[in-house]
């Protein structure tokens, strides 16, 4: 194994400048746990499990796949603007250029804000880290001057596939329209499967090539902890940031309605059961803390290794890590 000191130096500099950005923005840095009793309910994610053993008892614990539940509990406790830089873990995903099962996640939450404010934060943060208004990633020049490109899911499906999501709200409709337009929907079991199969093959490769792209207003079926759009509740106030074709961050205007959140968690729990995934309890403390969040707020999770990979112009995420699991298992 080669331990590349130059890369470690560059990473250390970027991490320092990331912390100083949030310090200037008057965010409080908080530490969130790596082991948790109840992780987020995302139906499709696989988690790592471990067991806490005490003389009389064994307790199942999970490695956190996102610090979002803890961050929202702190929002409920009136912490104001907060950020965390932590390790997160996802099981079942390995290979390719952009993923390590253990990765560094940056999450920040802004009060009196919605997802549009977070788009501005992304622009400012990444421009600050890059230290210039244009970067080169794998021989492609990417212009970082604000404002960055903003395209809704509806616009993207119209632009690249001539399909309206809004006009094809059911599985049957979307399948029929997609097939009429010669898109492959084989093995897709629900509306979201078709959405992703088309998105991954025909839309994602185009994103963030000349400028970083915010893909916003995702279908509500994929809203997780995001608030539904007041203009059209078929969509939710959620965006993902793409740079050079790579997904970098995922953000929400946070849902603070605990009733609606509870309904969604119950549905997601059912779906996990159906998909034969590990079942988690519903985190009552999390639901209770939503009720004490007084203001609108927005939160975002950003894959730090992926962002650094782009800023350091590395082809593979492993090149930004000193101990990538892919190499260790090889």
């Amino acid at each position: 194994m080669i331990y590349d000191k130059q890369t470690a130096i560059e990473r250390s500099k970027l991490t320092k400048s990331l912390r100083s950005f949030f310090e200037k923005e008057k965010f409080l840095e908080v530490e969130t746990p790596i082991m948790v009793r109840i992780p987020g309910m995302e139906p499709h994610l696989n988690v790592f499990e471990t067991t806490l053993i005490t003389p009389n008892k064994k307790t199942k614990l999970f490695l956190n796949h996102s610090p979002e539940l803890q961050m929202k509990k702190l929002l409920g406790a009136n912490f104001g603007n907060i950020f965390t830089l932590t390790k997160t873990f996802r099981n079942g995903e390995i290979g390719g250029n952009f993923h390590n099962p253990e990765f560094t996640m940056l999450e920040w939450y802004r009060i009196k804000a919605d997802y549009k404010n977070l788009m501005k934060d992304c622009e400012n943060l990444i421009k600050t880290l890059a230290g210039k208004s244009q970067i080169t990633y794998q021989n492609h020049k990417i212009d970082l001057k604000a404002p960055w490109e903003k395209l809704s899911c509806e616009e993207l499906f119209q632009k690249y596939c001539k399909i309206s999501l809004d006009q094809n709200r059911t599985f049957k409709q979307l399948k029929k329209t997609a097939e009429k337009n010669n898109f492959d929907t084989k093995f897709c079991k629900d509306w979201d499967d078709i959405f992703f199969k088309i998105f991954l093959n025909h839309i994602e490769p185009h994103l963030g090539k000349q400028k970083p792209t915010f893909v916003y207003d995702y279908p509500s079926t994929q809203a997780a902890l995001a608030k539904k759009s007041s203009k059209n509740p078929f969509f939710a106030e959620r965006f993902e940031l793409y740079i050079g074709g790579v997904e970098i961050a995922n953000a929400f205007s946070e849902l603070t309605d605990s009733k609606e959140q509870k309904t969604r968690l119950i549905e997601e729990q059912k779906l996990r059961k159906k998909l034969k995934k590990t079942i988690f309890d519903i985190d009552g403390e999390f639901l209770a803390s939503l009720e004490s969040i007084q203001q609108n707020c927005a939160g975002i999770a950003l894959g730090v290794d992926r962002l650094f990979m782009i800023l350091m112009d590395k082809k593979n995420i492993d090149e930004t890590l000193l101990f990538p699991l892919n190499k260790i298992l090889n």
Binding site: K5, G95, G96, C188, D193, Y218, E240
Partner: protein, 186 residues
């Protein structure tokens, strides 16, 4: 025709009117969605590389290909010549089909030829191969400018990054896919 849902590296598939070799397979859960396999596939005739994302559990048709052991002999710039280990028959493949694998080919080296309908269409190197370091600068202790690695030229003429402790004459193991140093070979 055999069907499989196990899309993994090294698998040959019939897809979009061609025969393709899966050269990279990544398991992903995009955003808030289900499981997908993002694959990089290489057309075994044209050598064209494309990316395609399959739904997890999607079954694909396995292609009937034959992997036959062969030996690399020489090249004339435009073509690379090999010999089948069992039949001693010689065959050639154009330089662009060999692609970046040429940096690891030296006379007498063993590899596999992929046959479709009895015709050799491409080669496959072992995932890891041992090579001798021909030239490299001595590693200097505490040299921070080089950042823990230096260049070394191996017997094929290819230059790769190695740790500072590697010396001329050492045998090293190389990952033939990305050309990276794995370990000292012993």
């Amino acid at each position: 025709m055999a069907m499989t849902t196990d899309i993994k590296k090294g698998l040959a598939i019939n897809f979009k009117n061609g025969t393709w070799l899966v050269i990279e397979a990544q398991f992903v859960n995009p955003g808030k969605g289900g499981a997908f396999t993002r694959a990089k596939i290489r057309n075994l005739k044209s050598n064209q590389v494309i990316e395609y994302t399959f739904k997890a559990g999607e079954s694909v048709e396995e292609a009937e290909i034959n992997r036959r052991k062969c030996q690399y002999m020489y090249n004339d710039g435009a073509n690379f010549y090999f010999m089948d280990n069992d039949t001693y028959e010689q065959f050639s493949l154009p330089s662009d089909v060999i692609g970046t694998d040429k940096r690891f080919l030296i006379d007498g080296i063993s590899c596999y030829a992929m046959h479709i309908d009895g015709v050799p269409t491409s080669i496959e190197l072992p995932p890891k191969m041992d090579f001798k370091v021909v030239t490299t600068t001595p590693g200097i202790k505490g040299d921070t400018a080089t950042g823990g690695s230096k260049d070394a030229t191996i017997e094929t003429g290819a230059t790769i990054k190695v740790p500072l402790f590697v010396k001329e004459g050492d045998m090293i193991k190389i990952n033939t896919e990305d050309g990276s140093y794995v370990s000292k070979a012993n």
